[in-house]
Protein backbone atom coordinates (compact mmCIF):
# COMPACT_ATOMS: atom_id res chain seq x y z
CA UNK A 1 0.00 0.00 0.00
CA UNK A 2 1.20 3.49 -0.83
CA UNK A 3 0.47 6.68 1.03
CA UNK A 4 -1.41 9.49 -0.63
CA UNK A 5 0.02 12.84 -1.64
CA UNK A 6 -1.83 16.10 -1.22
CA UNK A 7 -3.01 17.72 -4.43
CA UNK A 8 -4.09 21.30 -4.80
CA UNK A 9 -4.94 23.85 -7.44
CA UNK A 10 -4.49 27.56 -7.10
CA UNK A 11 -5.91 30.24 -9.40
CA UNK A 12 -6.87 27.67 -12.02
CA UNK A 13 -8.38 29.20 -15.15
CA UNK A 14 -9.36 27.45 -18.35
CA UNK A 15 -11.54 28.99 -21.05
CA UNK A 16 -13.15 27.19 -23.95
CA UNK A 17 -13.59 29.56 -26.87
CA UNK A 18 -16.31 27.58 -28.64
CA UNK A 19 -18.69 27.12 -25.72
CA UNK A 20 -17.57 30.20 -23.81
CA UNK A 21 -17.32 28.08 -20.65
CA UNK A 22 -14.66 29.15 -18.19
CA UNK A 23 -13.14 27.33 -15.23
CA UNK A 24 -12.21 29.75 -12.49
CA UNK A 25 -11.12 28.09 -9.26
CA UNK A 26 -9.34 30.18 -6.63
CA UNK A 27 -8.23 27.27 -4.49
CA UNK A 28 -9.01 23.60 -4.07
CA UNK A 29 -7.13 21.00 -2.09
CA UNK A 30 -7.42 17.32 -1.31
CA UNK A 31 -5.28 16.62 1.73
CA UNK A 32 -2.95 13.62 1.69
CA UNK A 33 -4.91 10.40 2.10
CA UNK A 34 -8.29 12.10 2.09
CA UNK A 35 -11.22 11.82 -0.29
CA UNK A 36 -12.43 15.10 -1.78
CA UNK A 37 -15.71 15.02 -3.67
CA UNK A 38 -16.35 17.63 -6.31
CA UNK A 39 -20.11 17.97 -6.59
CA UNK A 40 -22.02 19.98 -9.13
CA UNK A 41 -24.60 19.81 -11.89
CA UNK A 42 -23.73 18.87 -15.48
CA UNK A 43 -21.63 21.52 -17.16
CA UNK A 44 -20.42 23.08 -13.91
CA UNK A 45 -16.77 22.36 -14.72
CA UNK A 46 -16.15 19.36 -12.45
CA UNK A 47 -14.57 17.18 -15.12
CA UNK A 48 -12.49 20.05 -16.47
CA UNK A 49 -11.16 20.70 -12.96
CA UNK A 50 -10.34 17.01 -12.62
CA UNK A 51 -8.44 16.82 -15.91
CA UNK A 52 -6.52 19.98 -15.00
CA UNK A 53 -5.64 18.63 -11.54
CA UNK A 54 -4.72 15.29 -13.14
CA UNK A 55 -2.28 17.05 -15.49
CA UNK A 56 -4.23 15.77 -18.47
CA UNK A 57 -5.10 19.25 -19.63
CA UNK A 58 -3.09 22.45 -19.48
CA UNK A 59 -4.81 25.35 -17.64
CA UNK A 60 -4.64 28.85 -19.14
CA UNK A 61 -3.42 30.06 -15.75
CA UNK A 62 -2.81 28.74 -12.26
CA UNK A 63 -0.70 26.17 -10.50
CA UNK A 64 -1.27 22.53 -9.65
CA UNK A 65 0.72 21.25 -6.68
CA UNK A 66 1.36 17.61 -5.96
CA UNK A 67 2.73 16.98 -2.48
CA UNK A 68 3.41 20.73 -2.28
CA UNK A 69 5.52 20.79 -5.47
CA UNK A 70 4.31 22.77 -8.49
CA UNK A 71 3.82 20.39 -11.45
CA UNK A 72 2.75 20.70 -15.10
CA UNK A 73 1.32 18.49 -17.85
CA UNK A 74 4.87 17.95 -19.15
CA UNK A 75 5.92 16.44 -15.85
CA UNK A 76 5.55 12.76 -16.67
CA UNK A 77 6.91 11.63 -13.29
CA UNK A 78 4.15 13.60 -11.58
CA UNK A 79 1.56 12.16 -13.96
CA UNK A 80 2.77 8.70 -13.06
CA UNK A 81 1.91 9.32 -9.43
CA UNK A 82 -1.72 9.69 -10.43
CA UNK A 83 -4.31 7.53 -12.14
CA UNK A 84 -7.83 8.23 -13.35
CA UNK A 85 -11.12 6.39 -13.72
CA UNK A 86 -13.73 8.00 -15.96
CA UNK A 87 -17.50 7.81 -16.16
CA UNK A 88 -17.37 5.30 -18.99
CA UNK A 89 -14.74 2.62 -18.39
CA UNK A 90 -13.11 3.02 -21.84
CA UNK A 91 -11.58 -0.42 -21.71
CA UNK A 92 -9.08 -1.15 -24.45
CA UNK A 93 -9.67 -3.95 -26.96
CA UNK A 94 -8.04 -7.09 -25.64
CA UNK A 95 -8.13 -9.17 -22.50
CA UNK A 96 -8.94 -7.95 -19.00
CA UNK A 97 -5.36 -8.62 -17.90
CA UNK A 98 -3.96 -6.63 -20.87
CA UNK A 99 -6.09 -3.70 -19.74
CA UNK A 100 -4.99 -3.87 -16.12
CA UNK A 101 -1.39 -4.38 -17.22
CA UNK A 102 -1.41 -1.36 -19.56
CA UNK A 103 -0.30 1.23 -17.03
CA UNK A 104 2.28 -1.11 -15.50
CA UNK A 105 4.06 -1.34 -18.87
CA UNK A 106 4.09 2.47 -19.06
CA UNK A 107 5.53 2.54 -15.55
CA UNK A 108 8.33 0.18 -16.59
CA UNK A 109 7.35 -2.64 -14.22
CA UNK A 110 9.10 -5.95 -15.00
CA UNK A 111 7.00 -8.61 -16.73
CA UNK A 112 7.38 -11.13 -13.90
CA UNK A 113 6.00 -8.62 -11.39
CA UNK A 114 3.22 -7.42 -13.69
CA UNK A 115 1.39 -10.75 -13.65
CA UNK A 116 1.16 -11.00 -9.88
CA UNK A 117 0.12 -7.36 -9.52
CA UNK A 118 -2.64 -7.78 -12.12
CA UNK A 119 -3.97 -10.85 -10.30
CA UNK A 120 -3.91 -9.01 -6.96
CA UNK A 121 -5.62 -5.91 -8.40
CA UNK A 122 -8.40 -7.99 -9.95
CA UNK A 123 -8.91 -9.81 -6.66
CA UNK A 124 -9.15 -6.45 -4.90
CA UNK A 125 -12.12 -5.42 -7.05
CA UNK A 126 -13.76 -8.85 -6.82
CA UNK A 127 -12.87 -10.12 -10.30
CA UNK A 128 -10.66 -13.12 -9.59
CA UNK A 129 -10.18 -15.35 -12.63
CA UNK A 130 -11.25 -12.72 -15.17
CA UNK A 131 -7.72 -12.30 -16.57
CA UNK A 132 -8.27 -13.96 -19.96
CA UNK A 133 -11.74 -12.63 -20.72
CA UNK A 134 -12.31 -10.07 -23.44
CA UNK A 135 -12.63 -6.65 -21.85
CA UNK A 136 -15.38 -5.69 -24.27
CA UNK A 137 -17.62 -8.62 -23.27
CA UNK A 138 -18.00 -7.53 -19.63
CA UNK A 139 -21.14 -6.14 -18.02
CA UNK A 140 -21.23 -2.45 -17.05
CA UNK A 141 -20.39 -3.14 -13.40
CA UNK A 142 -17.56 -5.54 -14.24
CA UNK A 143 -16.11 -3.09 -16.74
CA UNK A 144 -16.10 -0.31 -14.16
CA UNK A 145 -14.38 -2.63 -11.68
CA UNK A 146 -11.71 -3.41 -14.29
CA UNK A 147 -11.30 0.32 -14.84
CA UNK A 148 -10.77 0.79 -11.10
CA UNK A 149 -8.34 -2.16 -10.97
CA UNK A 150 -6.44 -0.67 -13.93
CA UNK A 151 -5.90 2.48 -11.88
CA UNK A 152 -5.33 0.83 -8.47
CA UNK A 153 -2.72 -1.61 -9.82
CA UNK A 154 -0.41 1.36 -10.38
CA UNK A 155 -0.53 2.11 -6.65
CA UNK A 156 -1.07 5.80 -7.42
CA UNK A 157 -0.55 8.45 -4.78
CA UNK A 158 -3.58 10.32 -6.12
CA UNK A 159 -6.63 8.71 -7.68
CA UNK A 160 -8.93 10.81 -9.86
CA UNK A 161 -12.45 9.50 -10.32
CA UNK A 162 -14.81 11.19 -12.77
CA UNK A 163 -18.38 10.05 -12.06
CA UNK A 164 -17.25 6.42 -12.09
CA UNK A 165 -20.68 5.08 -11.20
CA UNK A 166 -22.91 7.47 -13.14
CA UNK A 167 -23.64 5.13 -16.04
CA UNK A 168 -24.75 2.18 -13.89
CA UNK A 169 -28.26 1.15 -12.88
CA UNK A 170 -29.36 2.21 -9.35
CA UNK A 171 -29.01 -1.20 -7.70
CA UNK A 172 -25.52 -1.81 -9.05
CA UNK A 173 -24.61 1.78 -8.29
CA UNK A 174 -25.55 1.41 -4.63
CA UNK A 175 -23.52 -1.79 -4.31
CA UNK A 176 -20.49 -0.39 -6.14
CA UNK A 177 -20.61 2.85 -4.13
CA UNK A 178 -20.12 0.82 -0.94
CA UNK A 179 -17.43 -1.30 -2.59
CA UNK A 180 -15.64 1.77 -3.92
CA UNK A 181 -15.74 3.44 -0.49
CA UNK A 182 -14.19 0.40 1.15
CA UNK A 183 -11.58 -0.12 -1.59
CA UNK A 184 -10.58 3.55 -1.47
CA UNK A 185 -10.29 3.54 2.33
CA UNK A 186 -8.07 0.44 2.22
CA UNK A 187 -5.92 1.84 -0.59
CA UNK A 188 -4.96 4.84 1.53
CA UNK A 189 -4.56 7.10 -1.51
CA UNK A 190 -5.68 10.68 -1.95
CA UNK A 191 -8.86 10.70 -4.00
CA UNK A 192 -10.56 13.43 -6.00
CA UNK A 193 -14.05 12.14 -6.71
CA UNK A 194 -16.21 14.00 -9.20
CA UNK A 195 -19.93 13.29 -9.00
CA UNK A 196 -23.31 14.98 -9.31
CA UNK A 197 -24.86 12.58 -6.80
CA UNK A 198 -24.54 13.78 -3.20
CA UNK A 199 -25.53 10.39 -1.79
CA UNK A 200 -22.55 8.82 -3.56
CA UNK A 201 -20.35 11.65 -2.30
CA UNK A 202 -21.52 11.25 1.29
CA UNK A 203 -20.69 7.53 1.36
CA UNK A 204 -17.27 7.95 -0.16
CA UNK A 205 -15.76 11.30 0.80
CA UNK A 206 -14.31 13.31 3.68
CA UNK A 207 -14.69 16.77 2.17
CA UNK A 208 -16.96 18.24 -0.46
CA UNK A 209 -16.48 21.10 -2.89
CA UNK A 210 -19.64 22.22 -4.70
CA UNK A 211 -19.19 23.75 -8.17
CA UNK A 212 -21.40 26.05 -10.19
CA UNK A 213 -20.57 27.71 -13.52
CA UNK A 214 -16.87 26.87 -13.27
CA UNK A 215 -16.43 28.12 -9.72
CA UNK A 216 -16.34 26.45 -6.32
CA UNK A 217 -19.25 27.93 -4.37
CA UNK A 218 -19.04 25.86 -1.20
CA UNK A 219 -16.38 23.72 0.41
CA UNK A 220 -16.17 21.86 3.70
CA UNK A 221 -16.80 18.54 5.38
CA UNK A 222 -19.90 16.64 4.31
CA UNK A 223 -21.65 17.67 7.53
CA UNK A 224 -20.73 21.32 7.11
CA UNK A 225 -21.85 21.53 3.51
CA UNK A 226 -24.98 19.42 3.84
CA UNK A 227 -26.23 20.65 7.22
CA UNK A 228 -25.85 24.30 6.49
CA UNK A 229 -25.55 24.93 2.75
CA UNK A 230 -23.67 28.09 1.81
CA UNK A 231 -26.63 29.63 0.02
CA UNK A 232 -29.99 28.96 -1.52
CA UNK A 233 -28.57 27.56 -4.79
CA UNK A 234 -26.31 25.08 -2.96
CA UNK A 235 -29.23 24.07 -0.73
CA UNK A 236 -31.47 23.51 -3.70
CA UNK A 237 -28.78 21.52 -5.57
CA UNK A 238 -28.12 19.32 -2.54
CA UNK A 239 -31.85 18.86 -1.88
CA UNK A 240 -31.30 20.41 1.55
CA UNK A 241 -33.06 23.28 3.22
CA UNK A 242 -31.98 26.82 2.48
CA UNK A 243 -30.25 28.42 5.47
CA UNK A 244 -32.21 30.83 7.70
CA UNK A 245 -30.80 34.00 9.14
CA UNK A 246 -31.28 35.09 12.72
CA UNK A 247 -29.59 36.70 15.66
CA UNK A 248 -28.48 35.17 18.93
CA UNK A 249 -30.68 36.71 21.60
CA UNK A 250 -29.33 34.97 24.70
CA UNK A 251 -27.06 32.19 25.91
CA UNK A 252 -28.42 30.00 28.72
CA UNK A 253 -27.50 26.61 30.15
CA UNK A 254 -25.03 25.94 27.35
CA UNK A 255 -27.69 26.65 24.73
CA UNK A 256 -27.96 29.61 22.42
CA UNK A 257 -31.32 31.05 21.53
CA UNK A 258 -31.74 32.39 18.03
CA UNK A 259 -34.42 34.91 17.27
CA UNK A 260 -35.79 34.70 13.78
CA UNK A 261 -39.02 35.85 12.22
CA UNK A 262 -40.97 36.09 15.46
CA UNK A 263 -39.85 32.76 16.89
CA UNK A 264 -37.00 31.64 19.12
CA UNK A 265 -35.03 28.50 18.45
CA UNK A 266 -32.64 26.72 20.84
CA UNK A 267 -29.37 25.55 19.35
CA UNK A 268 -25.88 24.50 20.39
CA UNK A 269 -22.91 26.60 19.35
CA UNK A 270 -20.16 28.94 20.37
CA UNK A 271 -21.71 32.25 19.40
CA UNK A 272 -22.05 35.51 21.35
CA UNK A 273 -25.37 37.22 22.01
CA UNK A 274 -26.11 39.83 19.36
CA UNK A 275 -24.19 37.92 16.69
CA UNK A 276 -25.98 37.38 13.36
CA UNK A 277 -26.01 33.70 12.39
CA UNK A 278 -27.08 31.38 9.61
CA UNK A 279 -28.81 28.23 10.77
CA UNK A 280 -30.56 25.23 9.33
CA UNK A 281 -32.54 22.23 10.56
CA UNK A 282 -32.39 18.88 8.80
CA UNK A 283 -35.83 17.72 7.68
CA UNK A 284 -35.06 14.24 9.02
CA UNK A 285 -34.57 15.64 12.56
CA UNK A 286 -37.96 17.36 12.74
CA UNK A 287 -40.79 15.34 14.33
CA UNK A 288 -44.43 16.33 13.87
CA UNK A 289 -47.19 15.89 16.43
CA UNK A 290 -50.85 16.63 16.15
CA UNK A 291 -51.71 20.06 17.59
CA UNK A 292 -53.65 20.01 20.90
CA UNK A 293 -52.55 16.48 21.87
CA UNK A 294 -50.28 15.74 24.83
CA UNK A 295 -46.66 15.29 23.78
CA UNK A 296 -44.74 12.18 24.78
CA UNK A 297 -41.88 12.88 27.16
CA UNK A 298 -39.05 14.38 25.14
CA UNK A 299 -35.82 16.23 25.79
CA UNK A 300 -36.23 18.24 22.58
CA UNK A 301 -36.00 21.93 23.42
CA UNK A 302 -37.73 23.19 20.33
CA UNK A 303 -41.49 22.64 20.27
CA UNK A 304 -43.02 25.11 17.84
CA UNK A 305 -46.56 25.43 16.54
CA UNK A 306 -46.55 25.13 12.76
CA UNK A 307 -48.86 24.87 9.77
CA UNK A 308 -48.30 22.47 6.89
CA UNK A 309 -48.22 24.57 3.74
CA UNK A 310 -47.02 21.90 1.33
CA UNK A 311 -46.98 18.11 1.44
CA UNK A 312 -45.27 16.17 -1.33
CA UNK A 313 -44.12 12.55 -1.68
CA UNK A 314 -40.37 11.91 -1.74
CA UNK A 315 -39.79 8.23 -2.43
CA UNK A 316 -40.81 6.27 0.67
CA UNK A 317 -41.50 9.40 2.75
CA UNK A 318 -43.30 12.74 2.51
CA UNK A 319 -41.68 16.14 2.66
CA UNK A 320 -43.79 18.63 4.64
CA UNK A 321 -42.96 22.33 4.30
CA UNK A 322 -43.97 24.06 7.53
CA UNK A 323 -44.72 27.68 8.29
CA UNK A 324 -43.26 28.34 11.75
CA UNK A 325 -43.81 31.93 12.73
CA UNK A 326 -42.38 33.87 9.80
CA UNK A 327 -39.92 31.11 8.83
CA UNK A 328 -40.22 27.99 6.73
CA UNK A 329 -38.67 24.69 7.69
CA UNK A 330 -39.19 21.18 6.36
CA UNK A 331 -39.93 17.85 7.98
CA UNK A 332 -39.53 14.37 6.59
CA UNK A 333 -42.59 12.30 7.54
CA UNK A 334 -43.17 8.60 7.00
CA UNK A 335 -46.13 7.54 4.88
CA UNK A 336 -47.74 5.77 7.84
CA UNK A 337 -47.40 8.91 10.03
CA UNK A 338 -49.08 11.00 7.33
CA UNK A 339 -51.95 8.47 7.24
CA UNK A 340 -52.30 8.15 11.02
CA UNK A 341 -52.21 11.91 11.63
CA UNK A 342 -54.46 12.63 8.68
CA UNK A 343 -51.86 15.17 7.60
CA UNK A 344 -52.99 17.56 4.88
CA UNK A 345 -51.89 20.90 3.55
CA UNK A 346 -53.25 23.38 6.09
CA UNK A 347 -53.00 20.99 9.10
CA UNK A 348 -51.90 22.58 12.35
CA UNK A 349 -49.09 20.61 14.00
CA UNK A 350 -46.31 20.88 16.55
CA UNK A 351 -42.79 20.77 15.11
CA UNK A 352 -40.36 19.22 17.59
CA UNK A 353 -36.56 19.05 17.22
CA UNK A 354 -33.53 18.97 19.48
CA UNK A 355 -31.18 21.89 19.96
CA UNK A 356 -28.38 19.66 18.66
CA UNK A 357 -30.29 19.21 15.38
CA UNK A 358 -29.80 22.89 14.55
CA UNK A 359 -26.64 23.65 12.56
CA UNK A 360 -25.35 27.15 13.25
CA UNK A 361 -22.54 29.33 11.99
CA UNK A 362 -21.86 33.00 12.50
CA UNK A 363 -22.64 35.15 9.50
CA UNK A 364 -19.40 36.46 8.02
CA UNK A 365 -19.20 40.20 7.34
CA UNK A 366 -18.72 39.56 3.64
CA UNK A 367 -21.90 37.53 3.33
CA UNK A 368 -24.97 39.26 1.97
CA UNK A 369 -27.17 38.92 5.02
CA UNK A 370 -30.49 39.43 3.43
CA UNK A 371 -29.79 37.36 0.30
CA UNK A 372 -28.68 34.27 2.17
CA UNK A 373 -31.94 33.92 4.00
CA UNK A 374 -34.36 35.28 1.43
CA UNK A 375 -36.35 32.10 1.13
CA UNK A 376 -36.44 31.42 4.81
CA UNK A 377 -37.57 34.80 5.99
CA UNK A 378 -40.56 35.25 3.78
Amino acid sequence: MTSGLSISGEGLRRTFKKSGFGLDVEYVEAEAGSVLAILGPSGSGKSTLLTVLGLLEEPDAGTVRLGGQAVTTHDREARRKMAAVFQRPYLFKGSVSANVEYGLVSHGVAKSERRSRVTAALARVGLEGYEDRSALALSGGEAQRVSLARALVLEPRVLLLDEPLASLDPLLKEQLTRDFASILRDAGVTVVYVTHDQNEAMVVCDKVAVMKDGRIVSVGTVIEVMDLPADEWVASFLGAEAPLQGEVTRVEDGLIWIGCCGIEIAAVGDVRPGQAVLFGIHAEDVLLFEGGHALPTTSARNQLPARVIQLSPRGSTYRAVLQVGGARISASVSRSAVREMGLLEGSEVLAVFKATAVAVRPLADSEPGSDASASGLN
Binding site: R79, S106, R133, S134, L136, A137, A151
Partner: protein, 238 residues
Protein backbone atom coordinates in the same frame (compact mmCIF):
# COMPACT_ATOMS: atom_id res chain seq x y z
CA UNK B 1 -18.24 -19.78 -76.28
CA UNK B 2 -15.38 -21.68 -77.90
CA UNK B 3 -13.20 -18.59 -77.49
CA UNK B 4 -13.44 -18.93 -73.67
CA UNK B 5 -12.69 -22.64 -73.74
CA UNK B 6 -9.66 -22.16 -75.98
CA UNK B 7 -8.41 -19.21 -73.94
CA UNK B 8 -8.82 -21.11 -70.68
CA UNK B 9 -6.95 -24.13 -72.09
CA UNK B 10 -4.05 -21.94 -73.30
CA UNK B 11 -3.99 -19.98 -70.05
CA UNK B 12 -4.06 -23.08 -67.88
CA UNK B 13 -1.12 -24.52 -69.88
CA UNK B 14 0.80 -21.28 -69.38
CA UNK B 15 0.21 -21.44 -65.63
CA UNK B 16 1.01 -25.10 -65.14
CA UNK B 17 3.70 -26.05 -67.63
CA UNK B 18 5.10 -22.80 -68.89
CA UNK B 19 4.99 -21.72 -72.48
CA UNK B 20 6.22 -18.94 -74.69
CA UNK B 21 5.79 -16.45 -71.82
CA UNK B 22 6.85 -16.90 -68.23
CA UNK B 23 3.63 -16.05 -66.43
CA UNK B 24 5.14 -16.49 -63.00
CA UNK B 25 7.93 -13.96 -63.64
CA UNK B 26 5.22 -11.39 -64.38
CA UNK B 27 3.26 -12.40 -61.27
CA UNK B 28 6.33 -12.17 -59.04
CA UNK B 29 7.28 -8.76 -60.48
CA UNK B 30 3.75 -7.54 -59.86
CA UNK B 31 3.70 -8.77 -56.29
CA UNK B 32 7.18 -7.48 -55.50
CA UNK B 33 6.40 -3.99 -56.80
CA UNK B 34 2.93 -3.71 -55.27
CA UNK B 35 3.80 -5.20 -51.86
CA UNK B 36 6.80 -2.89 -51.57
CA UNK B 37 4.71 0.10 -52.68
CA UNK B 38 1.92 -0.62 -50.21
CA UNK B 39 4.45 -1.03 -47.38
CA UNK B 40 5.93 2.39 -48.18
CA UNK B 41 2.41 3.81 -48.42
CA UNK B 42 1.57 2.38 -44.98
CA UNK B 43 4.76 3.81 -43.45
CA UNK B 44 3.83 7.27 -44.78
CA UNK B 45 0.05 7.10 -44.69
CA UNK B 46 -0.60 5.67 -41.23
CA UNK B 47 1.34 8.27 -39.19
CA UNK B 48 -0.07 11.15 -41.26
CA UNK B 49 -3.59 9.68 -41.04
CA UNK B 50 -3.14 9.30 -37.28
CA UNK B 51 -2.22 12.97 -36.89
CA UNK B 52 -5.04 14.18 -39.12
CA UNK B 53 -7.55 11.90 -37.37
CA UNK B 54 -6.63 12.81 -33.81
CA UNK B 55 -5.28 16.37 -33.80
CA UNK B 56 -6.67 19.72 -34.85
CA UNK B 57 -4.23 22.20 -36.38
CA UNK B 58 -4.22 25.14 -38.76
CA UNK B 59 -4.96 23.79 -42.23
CA UNK B 60 -6.51 20.61 -40.85
CA UNK B 61 -9.64 20.89 -42.98
CA UNK B 62 -7.58 21.58 -46.12
CA UNK B 63 -5.41 18.52 -45.40
CA UNK B 64 -8.51 16.34 -45.02
CA UNK B 65 -9.97 17.62 -48.29
CA UNK B 66 -6.67 16.96 -50.11
CA UNK B 67 -6.46 13.39 -48.77
CA UNK B 68 -10.06 12.62 -49.52
CA UNK B 69 -9.72 14.06 -53.02
CA UNK B 70 -6.50 12.08 -53.41
CA UNK B 71 -8.50 8.89 -53.05
CA UNK B 72 -10.07 9.64 -56.40
CA UNK B 73 -6.80 10.66 -58.05
CA UNK B 74 -6.79 9.24 -61.62
CA UNK B 75 -3.79 6.86 -61.93
CA UNK B 76 -3.03 8.11 -65.42
CA UNK B 77 -2.61 11.63 -64.06
CA UNK B 78 -0.17 10.27 -61.48
CA UNK B 79 1.56 8.28 -64.24
CA UNK B 80 1.87 11.37 -66.40
CA UNK B 81 3.29 13.55 -63.61
CA UNK B 82 5.73 10.86 -62.43
CA UNK B 83 6.83 10.17 -66.05
CA UNK B 84 7.48 13.88 -66.62
CA UNK B 85 9.35 14.19 -63.31
CA UNK B 86 11.54 11.18 -64.05
CA UNK B 87 12.02 11.87 -67.77
CA UNK B 88 15.43 12.93 -68.96
CA UNK B 89 14.43 16.61 -68.97
CA UNK B 90 12.45 16.32 -65.72
CA UNK B 91 13.65 17.52 -62.32
CA UNK B 92 14.59 13.98 -61.23
CA UNK B 93 15.75 12.82 -64.64
CA UNK B 94 19.32 12.47 -63.38
CA UNK B 95 18.21 9.52 -61.25
CA UNK B 96 17.54 7.55 -64.44
CA UNK B 97 14.54 5.80 -62.91
CA UNK B 98 12.01 6.01 -65.73
CA UNK B 99 10.95 2.58 -67.06
CA UNK B 100 12.20 0.81 -63.95
CA UNK B 101 10.41 -1.07 -61.18
CA UNK B 102 11.29 1.81 -58.85
CA UNK B 103 9.35 4.21 -61.08
CA UNK B 104 6.28 1.97 -60.79
CA UNK B 105 6.75 1.86 -57.00
CA UNK B 106 6.87 5.69 -56.87
CA UNK B 107 3.67 6.03 -58.90
CA UNK B 108 1.91 3.35 -56.89
CA UNK B 109 2.94 4.92 -53.58
CA UNK B 110 1.47 8.26 -54.75
CA UNK B 111 -1.75 6.51 -55.73
CA UNK B 112 -2.15 4.52 -52.50
CA UNK B 113 -0.91 7.00 -49.86
CA UNK B 114 -4.09 9.17 -49.94
CA UNK B 115 -6.22 6.02 -49.63
CA UNK B 116 -4.25 4.78 -46.62
CA UNK B 117 -4.22 8.26 -45.05
CA UNK B 118 -7.94 8.90 -45.49
CA UNK B 119 -9.04 5.48 -44.22
CA UNK B 120 -6.60 5.69 -41.26
CA UNK B 121 -7.78 9.21 -40.37
CA UNK B 122 -11.44 8.14 -40.44
CA UNK B 123 -10.70 5.02 -38.37
CA UNK B 124 -8.68 6.72 -35.63
CA UNK B 125 -11.14 9.63 -35.48
CA UNK B 126 -13.77 7.13 -34.36
CA UNK B 127 -11.65 6.15 -31.32
CA UNK B 128 -13.04 8.27 -28.43
CA UNK B 129 -10.81 11.10 -27.25
CA UNK B 130 -11.53 9.96 -23.71
CA UNK B 131 -9.87 6.61 -24.43
CA UNK B 132 -6.63 8.42 -25.27
CA UNK B 133 -7.07 10.57 -22.18
CA UNK B 134 -7.53 7.37 -20.17
CA UNK B 135 -4.27 5.96 -21.54
CA UNK B 136 -2.45 9.20 -20.70
CA UNK B 137 -3.88 9.10 -17.20
CA UNK B 138 -2.30 5.67 -16.76
CA UNK B 139 1.12 7.17 -17.43
CA UNK B 140 1.43 6.28 -21.13
CA UNK B 141 3.85 8.25 -23.30
CA UNK B 142 2.58 9.98 -26.46
CA UNK B 143 4.04 7.13 -28.53
CA UNK B 144 2.15 4.49 -26.53
CA UNK B 145 -1.05 6.49 -26.72
CA UNK B 146 -0.62 6.63 -30.53
CA UNK B 147 0.03 2.90 -30.75
CA UNK B 148 -3.02 2.23 -28.59
CA UNK B 149 -5.14 4.45 -30.83
CA UNK B 150 -3.97 2.52 -33.90
CA UNK B 151 -4.60 -0.77 -32.15
CA UNK B 152 -8.14 0.34 -31.25
CA UNK B 153 -8.69 1.31 -34.89
CA UNK B 154 -7.11 -1.89 -36.26
CA UNK B 155 -10.22 -2.98 -38.16
CA UNK B 156 -10.04 0.26 -40.10
CA UNK B 157 -6.29 -0.14 -40.60
CA UNK B 158 -6.85 -3.55 -42.16
CA UNK B 159 -9.32 -1.85 -44.51
CA UNK B 160 -6.61 0.72 -45.30
CA UNK B 161 -4.18 -2.10 -46.19
CA UNK B 162 -6.80 -3.80 -48.36
CA UNK B 163 -7.79 -0.53 -50.01
CA UNK B 164 -4.21 0.55 -50.69
CA UNK B 165 -3.12 -2.83 -52.04
CA UNK B 166 -6.27 -3.29 -54.12
CA UNK B 167 -5.84 0.09 -55.76
CA UNK B 168 -2.32 -0.59 -56.96
CA UNK B 169 -2.21 -4.31 -57.76
CA UNK B 170 -5.03 -3.79 -60.28
CA UNK B 171 -3.79 -0.43 -61.58
CA UNK B 172 -2.65 -0.32 -65.22
CA UNK B 173 -2.37 3.27 -66.48
CA UNK B 174 0.48 4.58 -64.36
CA UNK B 175 2.35 1.25 -64.46
CA UNK B 176 2.40 1.39 -68.26
CA UNK B 177 3.37 5.05 -68.44
CA UNK B 178 6.29 4.93 -66.00
CA UNK B 179 7.23 1.23 -66.29
CA UNK B 180 7.06 0.84 -70.03
CA UNK B 181 5.89 -2.81 -69.84
CA UNK B 182 9.41 -4.13 -70.52
CA UNK B 183 9.43 -7.94 -70.57
CA UNK B 184 11.27 -9.48 -67.61
CA UNK B 185 11.72 -6.07 -65.97
CA UNK B 186 8.68 -3.86 -65.64
CA UNK B 187 5.98 -6.07 -67.09
CA UNK B 188 3.36 -6.55 -64.41
CA UNK B 189 0.10 -8.50 -64.57
CA UNK B 190 -2.13 -5.63 -65.63
CA UNK B 191 0.18 -4.23 -68.31
CA UNK B 192 0.83 -7.72 -69.66
CA UNK B 193 -2.92 -8.38 -69.82
CA UNK B 194 -3.44 -5.23 -71.88
CA UNK B 195 -0.69 -6.23 -74.25
CA UNK B 196 -1.78 -9.86 -74.73
CA UNK B 197 -5.38 -8.80 -75.24
CA UNK B 198 -4.26 -6.38 -77.94
CA UNK B 199 -2.26 -9.22 -79.55
CA UNK B 200 -5.27 -11.52 -79.40
CA UNK B 201 -3.50 -13.90 -77.00
CA UNK B 202 -6.51 -14.17 -74.79
CA UNK B 203 -5.24 -17.31 -73.09
CA UNK B 204 -2.18 -15.61 -71.65
CA UNK B 205 -4.27 -12.61 -70.59
CA UNK B 206 -6.82 -14.92 -68.99
CA UNK B 207 -4.14 -16.84 -67.06
CA UNK B 208 -2.94 -13.54 -65.57
CA UNK B 209 -6.52 -12.50 -64.86
CA UNK B 210 -7.05 -15.72 -62.89
CA UNK B 211 -3.92 -15.11 -60.81
CA UNK B 212 -4.81 -11.44 -60.26
CA UNK B 213 -8.34 -12.26 -59.12
CA UNK B 214 -7.04 -15.04 -56.86
CA UNK B 215 -4.60 -12.60 -55.22
CA UNK B 216 -7.22 -9.85 -54.78
CA UNK B 217 -9.81 -12.26 -53.37
CA UNK B 218 -7.19 -14.06 -51.24
CA UNK B 219 -5.98 -10.81 -49.65
CA UNK B 220 -9.55 -9.79 -48.86
CA UNK B 221 -10.42 -13.22 -47.46
CA UNK B 222 -7.42 -13.05 -45.12
CA UNK B 223 -8.23 -9.49 -43.99
CA UNK B 224 -11.94 -10.19 -43.53
CA UNK B 225 -11.25 -13.33 -41.52
CA UNK B 226 -8.82 -11.37 -39.32
CA UNK B 227 -11.51 -8.75 -38.75
CA UNK B 228 -14.31 -11.19 -38.00
CA UNK B 229 -12.28 -13.46 -35.73
CA UNK B 230 -11.13 -10.44 -33.69
CA UNK B 231 -14.68 -9.11 -33.48
CA UNK B 232 -15.98 -12.53 -32.44
CA UNK B 233 -13.44 -12.84 -29.63
CA UNK B 234 -14.16 -9.33 -28.39
CA UNK B 235 -17.90 -9.98 -28.32
CA UNK B 236 -17.90 -13.43 -26.82
CA UNK B 237 -15.20 -13.11 -24.19
CA UNK B 238 -13.15 -16.22 -23.69
Amino acid sequence: MQIFVDAFREGWAALTSGGIIDVWTIVITSLRVSVFAVMVALVIGIPVGLVVGTKRFIGWRAALIIFNSGMGLPPVVVGLLVAMTLSRRGPLGFLDLLYSQNAIVIAQVIISVPIVMAITAASVASVPRELRLQARSLGASSMRVSLLTLSEARMGLLAAVAGGFGAIISEVGAATMVGGNIAGQTRVMTTAMVQYTRMGRYGYALSLAIVLMTIVIGVNVIITSMQTSAEKWEAEGR
